[in-house]
């Protein structure tokens, strides 16, 4: 499976340029989309998931053009949106069956098998008879994962899937995703940098509708290796440092600001070199 995005652009009616000339290539395996809120990740994912049309550019899934062959793509597609509603007063099991029918799994035995398997996989089997509107956010998210996997998708799009999951469930979910990613393209958006490093073989950073960086996370980190320095500073000096150095990140350590800068040479002045992290890669792009 190969997904190619060519020069995709989308401008909303209110003038927001959600996507600007985005080009990406993905094949089987996990692909991470990283970016701040409002960067255009969800727009991109909705467009790939056939729910929205771009103004320009195209998306190819192998030889299929997504925009004009939506239903053929949908057959291969699993999609977990960032937010979704469910029919009131309906149990997880019934709704999964309903969605399975919509996806074309019309053989009743097959349908029952996969619904049960996925209920187990997402740890919802024991509550399958309970009404979905009584579910907690994490449980609803797990239901969302289950429904996305109903049709053995070849292209799985998951938009901020781990929001609301506790660490245990998140691990469980990541295991599930990496298992699936062996023969599936999994596009996965998040703003949690570490998730990408753990999971993804490829990634792209999107900001303000543009791809600002793409590649293998480890290689990207490697490129920055030896150029990152850090220093604990006084709060009042922050602006002065920002003027003199390329500050990519600021965080607190024991209540005091710690800044990371990028520099080809050792700046001394109390800075100590640190190991580059994906977070540094991310912020070096975003905070430019």
């Amino acid at each position: 499976m190969q997904l190619t995005i060519n020069n995709l652009s989308k401008t909303y009616d209110n003038g927001v340029k959600a996507l600007q000339n985005i080009s990406l290539e993905m094949s089987n395996g996990m692909f991470g989309l990283l970016g701040p809120n409002g960067a255009g990740k969800s727009t991109l994912m909705r467009t790939i998931a056939t729910l929205q049309d771009a103004d320009q550019g195209n998306i190819m899934l192998n030889d299929l053009e997504v925009q004009t062959n939506k239903n053929a793509v949908r057959r291969l597609l699993g999609y977990l949106p960032q937010q979704f509603g469910v029919y009131p007063k309906m149990s997880a099991e019934v709704l999964l069956h309903h969605l399975a029918v919509l996806k074309g799994i019309t053989n009743k035995k097959e349908r029952t098998n996969i619904v049960n398997a996925l209920l187990h996989k997402t740890n919802l089997y024991d509550v399958k008879k309970q009404s979905l509107d009584g579910f907690s956010g994490g449980m609803k998210q797990r239901f969302g994962i289950a429904q996305a996997l109903l049709n053995n998708p070849k292209l799985l799009i998951v938009d901020e899937p781990t929001a609301g999951l506790d660490p245990k469930e998140r691990n469980r979910f990541y295991n599930l995703l990496s298992e699936i990613a062996e023969n599936t393209i999994v596009i996965f958006s998040t703003h949690i940098v570490d998730d990408i490093k753990e999971l993804c073989t490829n990634m792209a950073i999107i900001n303000k509708g543009k791809v600002v960086l793409k590649g293998n996370p480890l290689e990207l980190i490697h490129q920055l290796e030896g150029k990152v320095y850090q220093k604990v500073i006084h709060r009042n000096d922050l602006n002065r440092y920002k003027d003199s150095y390329k500050v990519i990140n600021e965080k607190l350590f024991l209540g005091k600001p710690v800044i990371h800068i990028v520099s080809d040479t050792n700046p001394d002045n109390g800075f100590t070199p640190v190991k580059a992290s994906l977070e540094d890669v991310y912020f070096s792009q975003i905070n430019n």
Binding site: D53, L102, A117, L118, K121, N123
Partner: protein, 1096 residues
């Protein structure tokens, strides 16, 4: 603080489209409001913009659009819950009082704005050019505003309070939709209250109240008096405002401002119940599945989804509320069915079904409008569409299953109504349940109509931006489509949905109306399928986009299977269309209204000059009639003997063929040489010039052959004369002589359109041309009739005369009738599958022969045969004792299908409609025996109509109808108690006064034209008064002398003057028989329009 909420609510509403949509809709609707509400109701001399009329219209429109009140007032609180904003709102420092008050008043102000559309619309409407000046009063702004404030505002307030509270407490949108119905049910419930005051008091829309309020107003007062808040109207308004306040108070206390926290607790609880065990099922393998997209799997998807949506609708409480309301309404309304003159009919299935259809329409339309919106927008409303829309299902499948689910819901409602109907019948001890009629009544008559409009509703929902716009577009479409018929937009090939099926007769079922109905419904359903397919291509999927973009992307949607569906259904649509066109426009001639009007106008313009051209009279008629009921066709071979009864020679004989399709008149042969002149052949009018003129008293024999062979089906087939079972026609289908008045345009406006002067309903009482005419185009002064009729094996054919012989030949029944004495040239032929009840009557005078009595009836209609036979006997006795002897040796009653509702007398034969008494359920204690009375009236026509013919001028119906009413009353009086007679008179008086109020013109009895409220209802009252004044004996004596002098057979004066009798002649005998001091009162009764006083 409440003011902030109030302002917020107003600001919000100002931005909402429905605020304006509703306003504009009400405005537009109200412009035609008066014409809509009072359509078909003669408001008579009351002006169209009289305050009372305006008030009633406003009340009715408010009632009709209560649903808008519910949609505005039901949602303000609900909205906060729907959009989950309640959490944000309720943590603010806000008191419950401020919150509710602000929301309520804000919405109420918006509601008043919306309904001001009604006020302005009605004001605008009164200025519209289609009103005639004489129908209007001078425009008065204040009177409109006053009426609006008095009638509409309190109703709105009550609705606002109630709907606000129900919406707030139930928090369900569908409850908001359906509560309008509940109020409607309430309104209908008040109709069942017998106490007038209470009925007026409880009417939520104040319609009955207004009637009561103005009960004692004269016409001038009706035009002048304004609608003030006083008397019963005040009580009514106070009651409903009070109720509104009470509901608001209750709701205020019930509403919990901390709902959110409670809900939260509930959620937590569920979470705690969850098992904590992480089960080790993580290692379960995800099985491989086959994602299918073949036809079979599509069918499975369709089936599964249909089930899914059907059950989701069945779970709606609002649906069950509708069902229960429906059942209540039916139970109440079915109490009086098929009422004729205050007497109810047996609860036969077709009555029940008619009642069910009528009452349930409102519910079906509500289901259609709202549930279609609810279904189409279901996933979007709850934001589940993101899941559904990314699955590989084609739009057509969920849309079709939603469509089918709604159809299933209609079916469930129909079945429950049927069960209610059956229970009602059983409860009334009526066990002739006719399931077939129930089935066809709903599934053939109503369901196709609903299905068709559901297609439309789905289409509008698919292309609209939101549910409300969809609902309103659908509603507007329905209104336009229904009302387009009034503007002549009728052809079923382009008027969406075609026509309704019409009346069900127990004798004839749906008859020949069924076939075209089914074809046209099929044609439109195919069209509907196309519409649904197109809707599925245009409906929103994924992120919302506007319609224009969706149209641009349409090409990607048109896949091969879709194209196949579209092409095949389009072909089917065209083919059925061609077939229908072939039937209605090629095999038959399609007459548009305009074309027909023009034809009639031309007929009059070209031929009117020939109206009183001397023509010979028919003296003998010989007919061989072959009826083919299954084909609805006939063949007639006829012979007329024509005699020149004038004093001049006649050179030309003018023959008018019946103007109708598929009627062929051929082989017209005279027994002397003629030259045919076809210059008026476009009107089927042929002139035969006699080579040797017809001298006075000379005769000529004319033979002809006429046939009728209907082909295919017609679009607007209203022919009820020739049907499968229950054929009933009279001799006006046969060739007539000279100009026919009946083809002229009657309506004044239509005549004006063609520059024709208004025509009189009846000629003046001095009109010499018509004084020698007993009816328009009478063509005769009396005939001898001999007929041989054949019909199908199951049927019996009946006409006037004595049955000489009957036999069966070639699987057909033959009947040979011959009159033994002269009859008027007015006779009927009926043929149906009859049962017959026989009896005889013998006069006290032993010299006369006995009279054979027969009632021919449809096999189930056995209820009132004895009453008919009794009526015949008693009438014959009374009339032959007091007036003159009965002229025939037979008297027959024949039932005919209920398409026409009357009974009519022909020589020794009385066709009697199925609807007129065969199925009346007469309770001797409570009801008037109307069957007996109608029978007596018709038998009376054997004297007044057959023995005495009246001149075709003003007062003709006094001679024929009023005298029949009087004599029927006398027969009734002999048979029934004084109380029953009084009950009968009270009923006649009630009908008279009701019809009189609505009439534009009331002539005196002597000069009555076609005003039935005068010659029937005033007539009987005046004659009854006369008997009180001078006694029954003197009245009878006068009538006896009148018959003696004026009868068509040997009346002295009739023979001498050649004139037929007039009302003035009758009055002369009455005056002669009464004392001089009564003459003034008699003058008042018959020659003026003064009220009939109780005491003179």
């Amino acid at each position: 603080m409440w003011y902030e909420i109030f302002k917020f609510e107003l600001k919000y509403r100002v931005k909402r489209p429905e605020t304006y949509v509703f306003f504009v809709f009400l405005l537009l609707f109200s412009i035609v409001g008066v014409d809509f509400v009072f359509q078909g109701v003669e408001i008579g001399i009351v002006k169209k913009n009289a305050p009372l009329i305006v008030a009633k219209t406003m009340g009715a429109i408010t009632g009709i659009f209560m649903i808008m009140v519910s949609m505005i007032m039901g949602i303000p609180i609900l909205r906060d819950f729907q959009y989950d904003t309640e959490a944000l709102l309720f943590i603010n420092p806000l008191t419950k009082r401020d919150y509710l008050l602000g929301r309520f008043l804000g919405s109420f102000v918006v509601l008043l704005f919306i309904f001001s559309g009604l006020l302005f619309g009605m004001m605008l409407g009164s200025q519209m050019p289609w009103h005639k000046e004489e129908e209007m009063l001078v425009f008065n702004v204040f009177s409109y505003i006053q009426t609006f404030s008095v009638v509409v505002v309190p109703t709105l307030f009550f609705g606002a309070c109630t709907f606000f509270v129900t919406g707030m407490l139930s928090k369900k949108l569908l409850v908001v939709y359906t509560q309008g119905i509940v109020l409607f049910v309430l309104f209908l419930l008040t109709k069942a209250i017998t106490n007038e005051y209470l009925q007026g008091l409880f009417d939520p829309f104040s319609l009955t109240t207004l009637t009561q309020f103005s009960k004692n107003w004269s016409v001038e007062e009706r035009n002048l008096l304004s609608i003030s808040l006083s008397n019963i109207l005040l009580h009514n308004k106070l009651l409903w405002i009070g109720l509104g306040l009470f509901v608001l108070y209750l709701g205020y206390h019930k509403f919990s401002f901390t709902v959110l926290t409670k809900q939260h607790k509930k959620k937590k609880k569920i979470r705690q119940e969850l098992p904590k065990t992480i089960n080790e099922s993580i290692n379960v393998q995800i099985p491989k599945v086959l994602v299918k997209s073949d036809l079979k799997s599509k069918c499975i998807q369709l089936l599964e989804l249909t089930k899914f949506y059907t059950f989701s609708l069945l779970k709606e409480t609002s649906f069950w509320a509708i069902i229960i309301c429906g059942i209540i309404i039916i139970a109440i309304n079915s109490v009086s069915l098929g009422t004729v003159y205050g007497v109810d009919s047996y609860p036969a299935t077709h009555f029940i079904i008619a009642e069910l259809q009528e009452m349930s329409m409102y519910f079906f339309i509500i289901l259609l409008l709202f549930y279609s919106g609810e279904l189409v927008w279901k996933e979007r409303n709850i934001k589940q569409y993101v899941l559904n829309d990314s699955t590989a299902i084609h739009n057509l499948i969920p849309l079709t299953s939603k469509f089918l689910a709604l159809v299933n819901i209609y079916i469930v409602l129909m079945l429950s109504l049927i069960v209610t109907g059956i229970l009602f019948q059983l409860a009334n001890g009526y066990y002739e349940l006719n399931l077939g009629v129930y089935f066809s009544g709903f599934f053939i008559e109503v369901l196709p109509f609903l299905i068709l409009y559901t297609f439309i509703a789905f289409f509008f929902q698919a292309v609209s931006k939101n549910k409300f716009i969809g609902i309103f577009l659908t509603l507007i479409f329905i209104i336009i489509n229904v009302s387009s018929a009034y503007f002549g937009f009728k052809n079923s090939l382009y008027k969406f949905g075609g026509k309704s099926l019409g009346i069900y007769s127990e004798m004839n079922g749906y008859g020949h109306f069924l076939q075209p109905y089914l074809w046209i419904k099929m044609y439109w359903i195919v069209f509907g399928i196309l519409i649904l397919t197109i809707s599925s291509l245009l409906i929103q999927r994924g992120t919302a986009t506007n319609l224009w973009l969706r149209l641009k992307r349409l090409k990607y949607q048109i896949t091969k299977p879709v194209l196949k569906i579209v092409i095949s259904f389009f072909t089917l649509f065209v083919l059925t269309g061609i077939y229908i066109f072939y039937n209605t426009n090629i095999l038959n001639t399609y007459w548009s209204d305009a074309k027909e009007l023009e034809f009639r106008a031309n007929y009059e313009k070209k031929l009117k000059s020939l109206e009183y051209l001397p023509q010979p009279k028919i003296t003998d008629v010989n007919l061989i009639v072959d009826l083919y009921p299954t084909k609805r066709s006939y063949q007639i071979k006829g012979t007329y003997i024509l005699k020149n009864t004038t004093k001049k020679t006649i050179n030309e004989i003018h023959i008018q063929k019946l103007i109708a399709s598929h009627v062929l008149l051929k082989s017209i042969v005279f027994d002397r040489e003629v030259v045919k002149n076809s210059q008026y052949s476009e009107f089927d009018y042929t002139i035969y010039k006699l080579k040797t003129p017809l001298q006075p008293n000379a005769i000529v024999k004319m033979t002809f052959e006429q046939s009728y062979t209907p082909k295919g089906f017609e679009d607007d087939n209203s022919d009820t004369q020739f049907v499968y079972n229950g054929t009933f026609f009279n001799n006006n289908i046969l060739p007539t002589l000279g100009y026919n008045l009946k083809y002229e345009l009657k309506d004044e406006d239509e005549r004006l359109q063609f520059n024709l002067l208004p025509r009189k309903n009846k000629a003046s009482i001095q009109d010499e041309n018509e004084l020698i005419n007993a009816r328009s185009g009478g063509d005769s002064e009396g005939i001898n009739l001999e007929t041989i009729i054949s019909t199908s094996k199951a049927q019996t054919a009946i006409t006037s005369g004595k049955l000489l012989k009957k036999w069966t030949e070639n699987d057909r029944n033959y009947f040979h009738y011959k009159t033994q004495e002269q009859i008027i040239n007015f006779y009927s032929i009926v043929s149906a599958d009859y049962k017959v009840a026989k009896d005889f009557w013998k006069s006290s005078n032993s010299n006369t022969k006995s009279v054979d009595l027969e009632v021919f009836y449809h096999k189930n209609h056995v209820y009132n045969i004895d009453r008919m036979l009794l009526g015949m006997k008693e009438s014959l006795s009374y009339f032959s004792t007091h007036f003159s002897s009965y002229q025939y040796e037979q008297l027959r009653i024949m039932e005919f299908p209920r398409y026409r509702e009357f009974a009519q007398s022909f020589p020794n034969a009385i066709p009697f409609s199925e609807a007129m008494g065969f199925v009346l359920d007469i309770d001797n204690e409570e009801d008037i025996d109307m069957v007996f009375f109608i029978t007596a009236h018709e038998v009376a026509h054997q004297w007044f109509g057959m023995q005495i013919e009246a001149a075709n001028v003003q007062g003709r119906n006094f001679v024929l109808e009023t005298l029949s009413q009087y004599t029927a009353l006398m027969v009734f009086k002999e048979q029934y108690s004084k109380e029953k007679v009084q009950q009968l008179l009270d009923l006649q008086k009630e009908i008279y006064e009701e019809k009189r109020r609505k009439a534009t013109h009331e002539p005196s009895l002597v000069l009555v034209e076609n005003q039935d409220f005068v010659y029937y209802y005033k007539g009987i009252l005046a004659m009854h008064k006369l008997t009180e004044l001078i006694g029954e004996e003197r009245v009878n004596k006068a009538i006896q002398r009148f018959i003696n002098d004026w009868n068509s057979c040997d009346g002295k004066i009739k023979m001498n003057t050649k004139h037929y009798a007039t009302s003035k002649d009758v009055l002369k005998y009455i005056k002669e028989e009464s004392p001089k001091d009564m003459h003034a009162i008699i003058h008042d009764l018959f020659e003026t329009t003064k009220e009939i006083k109780n005491q003179y």
